[in-house]
Symmetry: D2
């Protein structure tokens, strides 16, 4: 029996990617597609790559339109998910691809997002310790941010195995789709091509408290995070370089062992063979995570490189993976580890 | 019962794309993977996006290795397919993704390729008139060139409907993967990014006689082709602008009607709604062809724009589509019209 | 004695490029810089590459601000130049980088731009026959469009030498800066990277009548133009492929001779050695034009490839070149034929 | 009287950029241009953007060819500069753009480069404390590596002012020209476009000891460096994110003050206004360095972002700046702080 899914916010990049993946999901039937300013338009005009849905017309994002589905995905601007979710009833699986329900600490939320905290939902990063149990049967899921996905997977094994000090330093490069589809001058092709630039430097990026939350949980102690995001001249992908000072006794072997164990049974996270490094192009369009670790003895640090597709594993693929778990489906249903390259 | 397929030339871009698609084909089991200079290497080191095949080791391209398969795909340098095909026996389906068996005229072959003509196989562009009949049950298939795919689909309806004069003018832009994976200075990222440049200008490109062959067949009279290929700063995609002088009495409506009819039942070729133009990004990774037509009354020309993924519909996807027909499978099996965007 | 120059529209791409070139012009002193919605802002925030002007503040575009200069450059939205120019007095050199005064035919203007025709000014493409005489001492200059610059230089020698039929077919690829700095969704980096797409197909692009005007003048007879512009994934550059049917008796040699003669004394137009093809990267940031010609005997066409930097020779460099002529300076003052590559 | 300059290694990216800059240097006359495998070729075929030198023919790199110049620039593979320099005599200014004479410690050299140490020359990063004095009148100059240029300028003020702990963490993104012009598969446009990937992770990159040398000198104590370089999909530019733990008592103001003082009189290093971040596009083709600092109180770290053009300030521009000092010319002669953007 098909799972009937609605997508609120189907005209943006996250919504488009979700639809791309849902079209390939054998258990899902795509129901209502909604949008705000684009309501009334053909999807073919907005998402021309989704040919099978080209003639679908976007509806307004209302409780009536979203009613009658088994799953409702929310790809809305932050702060808007709670109001919609409330109207959907407790038996509908609501998967929020926005930030609203990710943070446990209301103070963090208010500091970084400037609005009242809506609550905390089960966190949709299944690879984190304990996450799958919380997701199984859940009716509400908070999909992680794209950067926190790349960074938490990179560092939680080091913290869980007590290999590194609780001060993480992270620099990540993201493709421009992470900044969304709203037209802003600094996101014009003329501006971003041939250009690398940072933003949200010095702890200002909203994904920082989410990383702290995940890494502190893994470490069992508060972890500080210095996070610098940069915008890279490519449409998709996140490459994160995450590092922390090694604790005494750590060796290259102990680091590698910890990561090999952490991901041994993970269907989507691949610790690459030694000598091979993650590349965003290799995970383009896929739900795979490429990880590689290094121990720099001279500098005394463990360095972890991770590559994801920010729209796939970093947003829509992660959402689908968690939906599968919540619904009792095989976790990998409709998802792939095969990238589109070159 | 699975179709067992071998791929000769699995380390290149065409071979890699074919494997990506074969992994998603429900009826195919991937057998031997061979290479020349890369024989002995892990596929994961050469095609890091194909995670499910990462631990497969490339074998040398020999008759022994390729024996025992239902289908053998050849992604070899031109001139090498005949020798391999001969050793495979008449009952094996051999799909040549190289140029060797595309041209009917031996003189054309010798002029453009400088070696003896190996013969002519059924031509794997199913959308051309009569092509499907020739492919059904075939044991040998010549996959079209990427440019001829984009251009022949763009112009054959105009010639078949006698709308235009037999002098076609074509300018096409291709992503760099069309130039292959061999390291050449002018294909370095430093050279191609931020750069557009032509090559093979003035009738020198090897795909020219193939276009002439296809368009002349559609027109029932010899068609001349002025073809200018250009290299665009993107990894994939072909955007072709094809035009010809309109015959008397042609109108915008008659042009549109001819194209609507030509592609009404085609699963992969989409004549876009008026006002929407093809974009290579919309067909990235998919087997879809986007087409749009215009009649420029002032200039007296019919202009047709087509967009394909050069590696998918232009090579590996086209190969698979023809294989499906040859084997009696549904033509769309394992193929998608959904692109990966943005 | 320095030429004092004002720039109206200094916050956009054309204005920024003009300022970049003016900073290197030994005879020019940069005066007022104006803008519309950005008035009051630091130039450093809008044009961060122009460090020597970083602390200049943009003023509103008024006659008062623009008064007291020897030269006023207008980089305004089309339709706005006439009103500003009228207020500047007949002795000030006004160089309009917009379209307002390019076309001779009022009907063409109204058809393509939808507003009343403002008039016709001396046309700032010095390489065209007779252009330098009209520019010498001029007080009003209409800078050509970027595409017409690339295309007119490519084809006027063939028409002037009566080598080709009066039906030109042109396909050109432009970098995204040609579309300006206003934020529009289809110009986002996420949309344009990895993408080629056409626009204004079928004779709809506003540069079409300008090309017709130039080529018809060179031919001495009306020339039709089929022009297809495409958007390429690069910030700058135009690569134009222009062709026309060869007249009887034309040979590769006669074509090459005509072009060698036409450009023998031109400081900025370079007919490349045989075997070398234009590339936009080679003229990045420079005022140079790279040209190569081919005669395709089989197709019976002359094909001309031209590469320019759309912002430099195609807009701001061309403006400066014409200013030099108008002011009696050496035409090449402050301009370079050296590109920035790779 | 003109300075006569020869360039050994004129066919590569560093050599080409040096020639681009030398063409604009009012005191320099370009003499012999040499190459190894490209000797005998026209420069126009190899560096098509350098139109004024298009007809120059490359000579072999011999002492005879290089004799008779005031300055000889060496853009050779590492390990080859010493043998050439020895033959040039002590009165010729030799500027080595390779690595051979950068490191003071022979053990570091041997460990990272695997060949005997050739010696140490005055280090051509004028902005470092004491560097200008060592360069004035020098006859031998070692041009810094591109990454060490970006990183040393970013961090030396923090170390000189004793603001941070001696453990630096650096992640930098470089354009592909930094990897040179030799054709290697992983540098193909098809591979690098749309892709971010690291290399030399864990302390393996050869620029690491050079950074340690510079930062330790500034700190007056040994500094450890964790350096992760990444390859970005752009031809030029380095964006470096450098950070270190703040010492007690550090504030955002004290950090900013230290940087404002360090660069107050520097012609090429620009501490951006607060709120504006460095971007590689803004320094494209220029000798400028953009710097911005942040103090992340929560993480307890000082973060410094720097952007340079790896070929300009990072190689050829830096070489010219040091040459100017050595020859007693104004340090900024022939150099610009104006980038080419967009």
């Amino acid at each position: 029996m098909a799972v009937r899914a609605a997508v609120a916010g189907a005209s943006g990049y996250a919504g488009g990617e979700l639809l791309r993946l849902l079209l390939a999901h054998p258990e899902v039937e795509i129901g209502a597609l909604t949008a705000h300013s684009n309501a009334g338009e053909r999807l073919g005009a907005l998402q021309p790559h989704l040919l099978p849905l080209a003639d679908r017309v976007l509806e307004p994002t209302t409780a009536e339109v979203l009613a009658g589905h088994d799953v409702v995905f929310l790809a809305l601007p932050h702060g808007q998910s709670a109001a919609v979710a409330e109207q959907l009833g407790p038996d509908v699986l609501v998967v929020d691809m926005g930030a609203d329900f990710r943070l446990q600490d209301a103070g963090d939320w208010e500091k970084f997002y400037g609005s009242p905290h809506a609550g905390t939902w089960p966190y949709g990063l299944p690879e984190l310790p304990g996450a799958r149990a919380a997701l199984a049967g859940a009716k509400r899921i908070a999909v992680p941010g794209c950067y926190p996905t790349a960074v938490s997977l990179a560092l939680f094994p080091a913290y869980a195995a007590d290999l590194v000090e609780p001060e993480a330093v992270i620099v990540a490069a993201s493709g421009t789709s992470g900044a969304g589809k709203a037209a802003k001058p600094h996101l014009l092709g003329s501006e971003v091509m041939g250009n690398m630039s940072p933003y949200g430097v010095g702890g200002a990026h909203r994904h920082t408290p989410e990383m702290i939350q995940n890494l502190s949980a893994a470490a069992g102690t508060p972890v500080t995070v210095s996070f610098t995001p940069t915008l890279a001249p490519m449409p998709r992908g996140i490459l994160a370089t995450s590092s922390a000072k090694a604790k005494a006794g750590v060796t290259a072997e102990s680091v590698r062992d910890a990561y090999a164990k952490a991901f041994a049974d993970e269907p989507f996270v691949h610790l690459l063979p030694e000598g091979q490094w993650p590349a965003t192009a290799a995970v383009y369009g896929s739900n795979a995570v490429q990880i590689q670790v290094a121990y720099d003895e001279a500098a005394g640090r463990v360095i972890v490189i991770s590559a994801i597709d920010n729209l796939a594993k970093g947003t829509a693929g992660g959402a689908l993976q968690s939906m599968n778990i919540a619904l009792g489906l095989d976790e990998t249903t409709g998802l792939t580890t095969i990238g589109v390259a070159p």
